[in-house]
Amino acid sequence: MLESYLREQRRHKDILLMTHIVIGYPSLDASFEIISTMVDAGVDLMELQIPFSEPIADGPVILRANQKALANGVTVKQCLEFADKAAKMFKIPFLLMTYYNILYKYGVEAFTDKMAAMGIRGAIVPDLPPEEGQSYLQAMDDHKLAPIFIYAPTSSLERMQKIAGYARGFIYCVARKGVTGQQTSFSNELESYLARCRKSTQLPLALGFGVKEKADVDFLKGKVDIAVIGSQTIRIVDKKTIPAAGEFLRSLRD
């Protein structure tokens, strides 16, 4: 189970790292090389995003990566083959991240069958709240896959508790309002939000949106279990090289 893996890892690490890639950006081959580099750098789990034409919760960096991947002609079938290969090659757990329409068009059950067969451990679907996710939740549960749900600073304690009832694996707490890839201030305000998150559930907590340097990760130690690095590694790969992203990830927990 994903949750027990995370707890096991946490026994000897202050904080875990989850990274993110958009499959097919900048190309399928490069995506694979990026995963390999990230695994080498010691990341504990990864989300693989299947690109979608309307990524409404994503900011400019990930939005453009989605568009570029689609412009390269990447298909859902290729993405699943890619995820299959990654899950077979590397030991860390992988999650799929995408928008609900991709699952809906594929067929929610067929999609979860496929995930289970490939050894993918869970999914993050940011535009699928539990209210709309009945068939998804059932299908995920049938395969012991973890549906990762999201908390936001605008979620009340009551709402968080409700969501936690449907979540497995861990909860993904977004650090602030807005979309991916913008500035987050790691401050007292964030601390009180995280305290509310902590109070609402026994599940491990991840924090993402705007984590981009060692100081951010240090701030999160003792407050959450997982720090999520999203747009920042895309920026580094864009501006520098794939190995530079590896060095960056290593530096976060030195």
């Binding site: 409404i56 209210e131 999201i150």
Partner: protein
């Protein structure tokens, strides 16, 4: 947990968590307003003193004679302030913004009509205003960009995706998820997550209420058919809602572009290219590929050039209550020409889709019967597109002279 906002299989609220509380608030304020008997009165008062409601129903005597079939009536939404039915929705949502105590409004716009209407509302009610508009639409509806800016709105051209209406909606959502505390997103059509389809239709129902009693007064009986163009579906919902429980055929006309087999159109309810999916927060028919990626759309009318459609209309299609047809770009230009020459009316290119289809069907209908076309907007905004379509030499000469003046 209860699913909300479904019209049989369509609709819902596929929201990122960060917006859940905002939608709860919006739904609450909308429910309170509906339950408040004074609210609709206040709304009608605004629309009759700031816009031009009730808008007239015009009997098109010359067109009726021309086709020799059904009597043709035209509902004049073009006579609203800012020249389209969009004002109905915008002023209604403006009243809700006041109730919520927010200070900024944002909106998407395709044709620019919704953007202009939102900019006037913001000016009148003292809100800050940002309008998202696809870069392609900024070019083809330039007069409306000018007016939005003069009205004090910031117009942000959207350069991502297909650079048209759907992309403007995505950007408006991205703004909203950052600024929802003070900002309301005035969605311009009967699409998006619950409660937008229902709420926009509620405000637009003022069209149907008026026109039903107007036609009864004019001729003592109901029309046989009513026609509206369908972009997101708000003017169609406004018109149809007046006749849902009557023996009246409801006809929605989508953008046929270069033809339904050309791959260059925006017909979601009457073409084979659309299928059910979930995007932009709701479930409906979308023009998408088998992976679920949205397709490029095309229409001569920016306001109809959209991948999705109202979940309420999708439901009316599935249950057979409404019929959906398409009109091509060239049929639409011909319909504008005929409406101008025969009646002196200048329909927007969007509205002209309804005209084009009604013109095709009128002749086959019985002269005892009548039909109503919703003229959702006026065509002034389309001056560049229409001038190009007619290849108007005098206009081209004028533009050249004007450009020279600016160069001098």
């Amino acid at each position: 947990m209860l699913k909300r906002g479904y019209f049989s299989n369509f609709g819902g609220a596929f929201l990122p968590e960060v917006l859940t509380a905002t939608f709860d608030e919006l739904e609450q304020v909308f429910e309170d307003a509906k339950a408040d008997p004074g609210f609709w009165k206040e709304y009608e008062h605004v629309m009759s003193t700031y816009s031009c409601r009730p808008t007239p129903l015009t009997f098109a005597e010359n067109l009726t004679r021309h086709f020799g079939g059904a009597k043709i009536y035209i509902k004049r939404e073009d006579l609203n302030h800012t020249g389209a039915h969009k004002a109905n929705n915008v002023m209604g949502q403006g009243l809700l913004v006041k109730r919520m105590g927010k200070s900024r409004v944002i909106a998407e716009t395709g044709a620019g009509q919704h953007g202009v209407a939102t900019a006037t509302m913001a000016a009148r009610y003292g809100f800050d205003c940002t309008i998202y508009m696809g870069e392609v639409d900024v070019q083809r509806q330039r007069p409306n960009v000018f007016w939005m800016q003069r009205l004090g709105a910031e117009v942000i051209p959207v350069k991502d995706g297909t650079r048209i209406l759907k992309d403007a909606i995505n950007e408006a959502f991205r703004d909203w998820v950052s600024n929802m505390e003070h900002t309301h997103y005035v969605l311009g059509t009967a699409c998006g997550p619950h409660p937008f389809p229902e709420m926009v239709s509620y405000f637009q129902s003022i069209i149907g209420k008026e026109v039903r009693s107007q036609i009864l007064e004019a001729q003592g009986c109901l029309p046989k058919r009513v026609y509206a163009c369908v972009g997101g579906g708000s003017n169609a919902m406004g018109l149809f809602s007046g006749f849902l429980n009557d023996p009246v055929q409801l006809v929605g006309v989508e953008a046929g572009g270069h033809g339904l087999n050309s791959g260059k159109h925006a017909s979601r309810l009457c073409s084979q290219d659309a299928s059910v999916g979930v995007a932009q927060g709701y479930k409906t028919y979308f023009l998408q590929n088998s992976d679920g990626q949205m397709l490029d759309t095309h229409s001569i009318a920016a306001g109809l050039d959209y991948v999705g459609v109202s979940p309420i209309l999708a439901d009316l299609k599935e249950n057979g209550r409404a019929r959906f047809e398409a009109a091509t770009d060239s049929e639409v230009v011909a319909a504008v020409d005929l409406a101008m020459r025969k009646e002196g009316l200048i329909p927007a290119l969007e509205s002209a889709h309804a005209f084009a289809r009604a013109f095709q069907e009128a002749a086959e209908m019985n002269p005892e019967d009548s039909l109503i076309i919703n003229q959702s907007g006026r065509g002034d905004k389309d001056i560049f597109t229409v001038a190009d379509a007619f290849n108007d030499p005098a206009w081209q000469q004028f533009i050249k002279q004007k450009a020279e003046q600016y160069n001098a």
